[in-house]
């Protein structure tokens, strides 16, 4: 007698209701030849009946399964002798409840249950039986009532199509609000944790402090754990690595896009484009160990041979590998934009005697610029949020430096190190991760707003 069986039965009833509703509509109209007397096609009357049969029952089922456990538990606990529950803490109480439930469900328990618990479990079981029977009866009644209602209301003048479509719209709205509400929930949870953090550490210190050392002293005499939460070194580290990445990705991506879109023969494009896009399919963790195990030692060796001191976890290595990762974003987005420039503009330019490179530089590029800027800014937010490469290749030391040969750390790396392992969620150290996340989110948001603004501004100018 599980809810899933009930769900299945409701769905079957909906299918049946569809057919009955459709038949009924045809019958009301006076036969298949008379269906133009109906306001809507017969199928809509079928959907109408199915919705009346299914929706109320489904909503009841959803509500019931959500509430049943809670209500039954409350009822059961109320039956227990009061001296048994009076002195229990919240944790002990939930332990007791799970004992009762386990016993009721017939699960094995490690220890022998007390008589009270056994009695409660029996009571719980009895209540459960009543609840299930009630649910079945209610659902059955609702299905039948829905069918009767739909049967009664199926008349030629019923605007079945409009009713069905407005319900379809409501369903669509519900589903799209799931995405929006999830985003909102994430933002709010990060926000509340950040507020807790800022109660411990002033936001001025967080935003403008130049020293990052999140270890908090657990004992008074502990050394080297002062707890400094100046996020500036993290953000400069993030910016430095992203800057190096864009320095590589923008020219390479853009120029390869121009080649692929304008110069490459069809055969070359046919294999070059997928190969380039394979880069986007490589997991970032693979890029990460490529950066840490191949590029970084190579850079250090190269630096030694010319007398430069390059750290083995340098910003340069992480940035370059991140740049390689981003190339396909820039090139693929730019190529799409370049291809979207109408052929008539190229023709117009060629017809004036412009060469291909003049046409690209002076006509196609300006026309494609808004899209290219949008693509590049998208790549920037991707670079800022990228985690795996920098975790493996960029290091943990929060150095405030603009020297790409030194080791830096990024916001994302610090979030990872703050939150991995066993943590207490009420120390400033852990909560700092939420503050960092919030700041990162705000920065990316601002970046996206700027990107949209630029794109819109150019679009006004060019259309």
């Amino acid at each position: 007698m599980s809810p899933s069986l009930l769900l299945f039965i409701i769905l079957a009833a909906m299918g049946l209701a569809y057919h009955i509703g459709r038949k009924r509509a045809i019958g009301v109209a006076g036969g298949v030849t008379q269906i133009n007397r109906l306001h809507s096609l017969p199928a809509y009357y079928g959907y109408y009946a199915a919705l009346w049969v299914g929706l109320p029952a489904l909503l009841l089922l959803l509500f019931w399964t959500g509430m049943q456990g809670q209500i039954l538990t409350t009822l059961t606990l109320a039956e227990l002798p009061p001296e048994m529950t009076a002195e229990l803490s919240e944790g002990q109480l939930s332990l007791l409840v799970s004992d009762i439930r386990n016993l009721a469900d017939g699960n094995l328990m490690g220890r022998e249950p007390s008589a009270e618990v056994e009695a409660a479990a029996a009571h719980y079981q009895r209540l459960q039986g009543i609840a299930t029977a009630t649910l079945w009866a209610l659902v059955g009644a609702m299905v039948l009532a829905g069918m009767a209602w739909a049967w009664q209301h199926t008349t030629p003048s019923l605007r079945a199509r409009n009713r069905v479509e407005s319900i379809a719209m409501i369903v669509l709205v519900l589903f799209s609000s799931i995405a929006i509400l999830t985003t909102l929930g994430i933002v709010l949870s990060v926000l509340f944790e950040s507020i807790r953090f800022f109660q411990m550490v002033p936001w001025t210190e967080f935003l403008f402090g130049t020293k990052w050392s999140p270890q908090i002293a657990l004992r008074a005499e502990q050394v080297g754990a002062s707890g400094a939460f100046g996020a500036i070194p993290l953000f400069t580290g993030t910016l430095l690595i992203s800057f190096i990445a864009m320095l590589l990705a923008v020219p390479v991506g853009l120029l390869s896009a121009v080649y692929l879109a304008e110069y490459a023969p069809r055969q070359v494009r046919a294999w070059a484009k997928p190969v380039l896009e394979v880069l986007a399919g490589i997991p970032t963790v693979v890029y990460g160990f490529f950066a840490a195990l191949t590029v970084a030692p190579f850079m250090r060796g190269l630096g030694e041979s010319v007398g430069l001191d390059i750290a083995s976890e340098s910003a340069l290595a992480a940035g370059l590998v991140m740049g390689i990762m981003i190339i396909p974003f820039v090139s693929s987005l730019s190529e799409d934009v370049i291809n979207a420039v109408p052929q008539s503009l190229r023709d117009g330019s060629y017809a004036l005697g412009a060469t291909q490179s003049e046409t690209i530089r002076r006509v196609i590029f300006p026309a494609a610029l808004p899209g290219i800027v949008g693509g590049v800014l998208l790549a920037v937010s991707r670079a800022i949020g990228e985690t795996m490469i920098v975790v493996m290749a960029a290091g943990l030391a929060a150095n405030l430096t603009a020297n790409p040969f030194e080791s830096v750390t990024t916001v994302t790396v610090q979030i990872v190190t703050l939150l991995t392992g066993d943590q207490e969620f009420d120390s400033a150290k852990t909560l700092a991760a939420f503050a960092l996340g919030l700041t990162l989110f705000v920065v990316t948001l601002i970046l996206n707003v700027i990107a949209l603004h630029i794109v819109r501004k150019y679009r006004e100018q060019y259309e």
Partner: protein, 287 residues
């Protein structure tokens, strides 16, 4: 590369469309293909798009200070022929052009000929107005800049003004040269494109259905403009509108399925067509 094919080929006027269908490869053109004062002289042009034989043995002159109109049903090859005249077909990878096309006696099909100066001499206006996504001023200044035609900003300003004046657009846009060219109305955009073509001082102007995207009033303005431009330029125009061909052109060429069926003065073509196909098309029996 047959340049002696100036001979007039006359075909019996009673030939029907059925005869033609059986006999396509040997179709010869009815009427006078040569012009007394030719700027462009095309002989035995054949064009293939991959395996599709789009133009078959077309020979035609385009004379000094005349407007030659090319008419015919869709897919007859008139636009393809036009695009041969400034080698715009080069931009289509699958296209192959054979035959002789001479501009002032110089063979332009020659691979040694650079298309850049050629296209400056033979300008083109397209079916749909295609202003660049730049300001009105920059749209006109684009051609002179890439060809290095002016030495100073003042000269460029002057060239922009004269080009716009010749295209009859100056009065309408002189106060907003910095506004985007794409913000103009369809007819103004097309005149902007004509002005853009004029800015590099071409000798021949090719127009590929320049009014097909315009309303009747804008069309009338452009047609007047074409008539004025005839004084200084040689013009070849492809059009779907027979009335337009009759209004603006001195000579008319009728294309059918890749063949040049008949050429003659516009009066003759519209009043006494010699070929059955031409007559059918003119009288609106098909196309």
């Amino acid at each position: 590369m047959n340049t002696t094919a100036d001979a007039i080929a006359v075909k019996p006027a009673n030939l029907t469309a059925d005869h033609l269908a059986q006999d396509q490869s040997t179709t010869t053109t009815v009427g006078e293909i040569s012009s007394p004062n030719p700027r462009m002289r095309c002989r035995d042009i054949n064009v293939w798009y991959s395996a599709n034989h789009a133009i078959k043995n077309v020979s035609l002159d385009i004379g000094q200070n005349e407007v030659v109109a090319m008419i015919g049903p869709s897919g007859c090859g008139k636009s393809t022929f036009l695009r041969c005249l400034n080698r715009m077909n080069d931009t289509i990878p699958a296209a192959r052009v054979e035959g002789s096309i001479k501009l002032d006696g110089q063979e332009i099909q020659d691979k040694s000929i650079d298309v850049v100066p050629l296209r400056a001499r033979v300008g083109m206006v397209f079916q749909k107005p295609n202003p660049f996504p730049k300001s009105i001023y920059e749209n006109i200044a684009y051609g002179p800049r890439i060809h290095g035609l002016t030495n100073s900003r003042a000269e460029l300003d002057e060239l922009v003004e004269t080009s716009l004046q010749r295209a009859g657009l100056w009065k309408e846009v002189k106060d907003r040269l910095d506004a985007p060219g794409t913000g103009l109305s369809g007819g103004q955009q097309q005149r902007l494109c004509i002005a853009r073509t004029l800015s590099v001082s071409p000798e021949v102007i090719l127009m590929d259905e320049p009014c097909s995207a315009l309303d009747p009033i804008a069309t009338a303005i452009i047609e007047e403009l074409i008539d004025e431009l005839r004084q200084q330029y040689t013009i070849a125009i492809v059009t779907h509108s027979m009335q337009q061909a009759a209004r603006v052109s001195q000579r008319t060429a009728y294309f059918h399925l890749g063949d040049l069926v008949e050429v003659g003065t516009t009066d003759d073509i519209f009043n006494q067509p010699k070929h059955k196909l031409t007559e059918d098309y003119i009288t609106g029996r098909f196309g």
